[in-house]
């Protein structure tokens, strides 16, 4: 439902959207109910000629049930949220499907850099494609990312994927995504990381198989060297 208003392009985006919607609806329901009750009570017990305010210690069960009943009902709602959240957490963060390829994502003040596998499909080999601020991936394939930070905390955020993962210096954090549509979208940093945090923006370019293959061959270190040698 949310994806009608905000582009969603990963296999798990709708799970996260649904969870947020569930939380929004439950919390919204209680919020409106409470506000209505409060305003009603304020109006009903407004100052009246000849009526003194009463002091209530709140120990009498007759008064306390205004708190205990909603409290219990809210706890029941919480159960739904917890079950939903654990399911989504497991699918998104813990159960990583087999990858088609792996990409290294590195945050530093203030840019995102990426190591793509290159023609051989493996990272940390000679034909890796290194880029700054531009991540190229193929649609419909499972990617693992290895997330690193070179200096301070950053957070790798791809709004169209509903993906957000902190990057921590000294750690390599593995995650995954699978894009369900093509296009060019934002990558952000979602953890304050210094004065340039707000402009630490990258782009993710999701391509069809053919387009991706032609990008890979245009970026292989050999063809690049031909362009760059003065």
């Amino acid at each position: 439902m949310i994806d009608r208003y905000l582009v969603a392009l990963s296999t798990y985006a709708s799970d996260i959207d649904d969870l947020i919607l569930l939380i929004g609806v439950l919390v919204g329901f209680w919020f409106i109910l409470c506000e209505v009750a409060f305003f009603y009570l304020i109006w009903k017990f407004r100052a009246k000629e000849g009526v003194r305010a009463q002091y209530m210690s709140g120990e009498d069960p007759k008064h306390k049930r205004w708190i205990t009943w909603p409290h219990l009902l809210v706890l029941v709602c919480d159960l739904f949220i917890v079950v939903g959240a654990v399911r989504v957490w497991y699918d998104v963060k813990q159960n990583l499907p087999e990858p088609y390829e792996t990409v290294r994502v590195i945050g530093q003040q203030w840019a995102w850099s990426f190591v793509h596998a290159g023609p051989d499909g493996k990272i940390d080999t000679a034909d890796d494609i290194k880029t700054v601020d531009e991540l190229h991936i193929q649609v419909g394939k499972v990617y693992h990312f290895k997330l690193e930070a070179r200096d301070v905390l950053h957070s790798f955020s791809v709004p169209v994927f509903r993906l957000k993962q902190d990057a921590i210096p000294g750690r390599i954090i593995t995650g995954w995504f699978e894009a369900t549509g093509t296009g060019e979208y934002d990558i952000q940093c979602a953890e304050i990381c210094g004065i340039g945090h707000g402009v630490m923006a990258g782009r993710i370019i999701i391509e069809s198989a053919e387009k991706h293959a032609s990008w890979v061959s245009s970026q292989s270190p050999i063809s690049l060297a031909a362009v760059a040698t003065p």
Partner: protein, 214 residues
């Protein structure tokens, strides 16, 4: 007051208002430059004398054309976009915050108007006498006194922090700077850096450049 007296008073008022407004817009341009520079000061220092810990070089008094060129290169991604350019990546977003060419001009004029500082030597083991000989091929583009040559886009080198110069030479040599397509002047310097055989040669030249500081 007579009619002509009134007229004179009105004219005087108009003229003085005009001067005030004109002066105010000049002052406003300066104010804008000073405001823009506040950001630069966080890394380059209030007096733009540089900050080793942030990797930000001294830029006070740097030639206006050179500040402009480098800011434009950072903004357009010809500098600060290489995978291994850790320090360039810090500077590039700062240039991106300058929204227009006018803002680049203003802040460049501001930086150029600041009194040049004499950066402290941080490097050791450079032989300035040897460096003087080695500097000979650099003169064509950077000038005898390291003052820079606008016609050839050769940056001014005097009064620049030595650790920064060393990093730039290493960056040029490794293709971290001057290797982006379209960066012709960077490519020129990249070709030159190939003639510097090792770090000692670079340090010697830099030791000589440090003697040129005014």
């Amino acid at each position: 007051m007579s009619v002509s007296g009134k007229f004179c008073a009105a004219a005087a008022l108009a003229v003085s208002l005009g001067i005030a407004v004109g002066g105010a817009s000049l002052a406003r341009a300066d104010e804008r430059a000073a405001e823009l520079f506040q950001l630069c000061a966080t890394c380059h220092g209030d007096d733009a004398s540089g900050n080793f810990l942030y990797g930000a070089p001294a830029i006070a008094g740097m030639a206006e054309w050179s500040v402009k060129t480098q800011l434009t290169k950072f903004r357009d991604g010809q500098r600060g976009m290489h995978f291994d350019d850790i320090f360039g990546m810090r500077m590039r977003p700062m240039a991106l915050t300058l929204r227009s060419d006018e803002d680049i001009d203003r802040v460049a004029a501001h930086v150029a108007s600041m009194p040049a500082t004499r950066p402290e030597a941080e490097l050791h083991g450079g032989d300035a006498a040897n460096g003087k000989t080695l500097y000979a091929p650099c003169v064509a583009c950077h000038g005898m006194d390291g003052e820079g040559r606008e016609q050839l886009s050769g940056s001014p080198l005097a009064n620049v922090s030595d650790w920064y110069l060393l990093r730039q030479l290493e960056n040029f040599k490794a293709g971290v700077r001057g290797g982006r397509p379209g960066d012709q002047t960077g490519a020129m310097m990249r070709a030159m850096s190939g003639t510097l055989s090792d770090e000692q040669v670079m340090k010697d030249i830099i030791a000589h450049i440090m003697t040129l500081a005014k």
